[in-house]
Symmetry: C2
Subunit: 236 residues, 2 copies
C-alpha cells in the first residue's frame, strides 16, 4: 500500500465573508506546487468556512451573560453545565462545548458560529474544486471537539462531501475466518484528526490535504452518519 | 512543513506469547525498505501486544454468562449496559465497550485482554527498537474504542512512550494576539487514528509508522495524560 501523506495548504489569504473558498484553495495548492489530485481529501477548518459564509456575530467575550445567551441560541439542548462551560447539542445533532462557537482567531468582539449546514458547505467546496481544478476530491469541514472520558481535544468532521463519513466493515471476516463484529470506523473523524497533526493551532493553516486514502471510500457521504441518534445514545 | 507520511509495517509473522515485538518490527521495517528513523512514531495495535504478553484467555464467545463475567472481572466500574453491550471503566481508567476485550483476529475460543500496563508495553517496544535499530522513536499502543454521541469507532492511544500524549497549547496566542483558551490536543489519539487509515481491519497490519511529526512532541509521555479524572468528567 502506498503511504498516506498529509500536508497543509499554506499561503491562503485571510478569509472574508463572500470569499469562494474553493477558488482560494485551488490557487494556494497550485502556488505551493501541490495541485489537487483525484481522491485527495481536503480538510477545511470550520473557522474559515464560517468566515466565508458570514457566520460571524458580534460578541463581547467578557460579558458572560451574552456569551451564555449566544450559546443557548445555538443549542437545541443543554446536556451539562459547569462554571462557564456548557456542553450542548447543536441543531445539527453535534454534542460539543459552547455549541461549537469559536472565539479564537477571530478579531476581538466577534464569535464564529458553526455553518448552518456544514455538509452543504463541504459540497460547495467540492463542487468549486471540481469547477476550478477539474478534479474530484473528498471534502471534510473539521472542528475541534472535546470528548467524554478522555482529556484533550481532537479534530472531527462536521461536514462531509464526496467521501464516506463512516466505513462499515461489519460482516467482513477477519484473518481467522470469523465474522468481524463491530467495525464501523469513523473514517471522516480519523481523517480530520490526521489533518490536524500538520497544522499548528496559531499558524492559520485553513486546510490540509490527506492523499492516498482508499479509492473505495470516495462516494456520497454526510456528517449526519456520524451523529448517534439520541435514542441509541447511552450518554445523552 | 514537510508532509506527514503514514505507512504500515507489513510482513510481521503471526505473533505468539513471548515474542519480542521490537525485534519483529525492526526486522519487518528493514525488510520492506523502510527502516525506522529518529522521531518516527510507531503505532502498535493492542492485539499483538496482548498476544506477545500472553494476555489471551480461553473464552467460549457463545456463552453470554462467561463473557459477562470476564468483562466484569476486567472492569472497575460498569457505566451502562444495553443488551449484550457493557460500557465500563477498566483498571487503567479507560472507558470503553466490553472492558476492551478483543474477540476478533484471535483463534476461536480465546479472547485478548488489554495489556496490564500499556505504557510499560510501549516503553518496552521503544527500548527494544533503540536496542535493535539504534534509533529513538515514539511508541503508541492503540486500541479501537467507541465514543459517546458519535457513531463509529476510532483508534486511540492506550499506551504511550517517548511521545507527549497531550500537547498543551494553552496560553499561546493566536494570529490576533489573543490568548488561546483551550487547546489541549489529544495528540496520541489523533496519531493512533491516522495510523488506522492505512491498515485494513482484516489484513493483519500489526503496526504503522507515522513520520514527520513535530520533533518537540517527542518527550516523556503516558497514556494516563489522556484519562480524564472521574471528578472532572461530566459524563461518568
Amino acid at each position: 500500500m502506498p503511504p498516506l501523506t498529509v500536508f497543509p495548504i499554506e499561503g491562503v489569504p485571510e478569509v472574508r465573508e463572500g470569499d469562494v473558498l474553493a477558488e482560494l484553495l485551488v490557487a494556494a495548492a497550485q502556488e505551493q506546487g501541490t495541485p489537487f489530485e483525484p481522491d485527495d481529501c481536503v480538510v477545511v477548518t470550520q473557522k474559515v468556512v464560517s468566515k466565508a459564509e458570514g457566520r460571524v456575530v458580534p460578541l463581547d467575550a467578557s460579558d458572560a451573560g451574552a456569551r451564555r445567551a449566544l450559546i443557548e441560541s445555538e443549542s437545541v439542548r443543554v446536556l451539562r453545565r459547569r462554571d462557564e462551560l456548557i456542553i450542548s447539542e447543536t441543531r445539527h445533532g453535534f454534542v460539543c462545548a459552547n455549541a461549537g462557537i469559536d472565539l479564537s482567531n477571530i478579531p476581538d468582539g466577534q464569535a464564529a458560529l458553526l455553518p448552518v449546514d456544514p455538509d452543504r458547505s463541504a459540497r460547495r467546496i467540492r463542487d468549486g474544486i471540481r469547477a476550478h481544478a477539474g478534479v474530484d476530491v473528498g471534502v471534510i469541514v473539521s472542528d475541534t471537539f472535546g470528548r467524554a472520558w478522555r482529556v484533550g481535544l481532537t479534530d472531527v468532521a462536521i461536514g462531509v462531501a464526496g467521501l464516506a463519513a463512516v466505513v462499515d466493515l461489519r460482516g467482513q471476516s477477519d484473518a481467522h475466518g470469523r465474522e468481524l463484529q463491530v467495525t464501523e470506523i469513523a473514517l471522516a473523524d480519523e481523517i480530520a484528526g490526521a489533518a490536524e497533526l500538520v497544522k499548528g493551532k496559531a499558524e492559520q493553516v485553513p486546510a490540509t490535504v490527506v492523499r492516498g486514502l482508499d479509492a473505495e471510500w470516495f462516494r456520497e457521504g454526510s456528517a449526519r452518519e456520524l451523529v448517534r441518534p439520541p435514542a441509541e445514545d447511552l450518554f445523552r
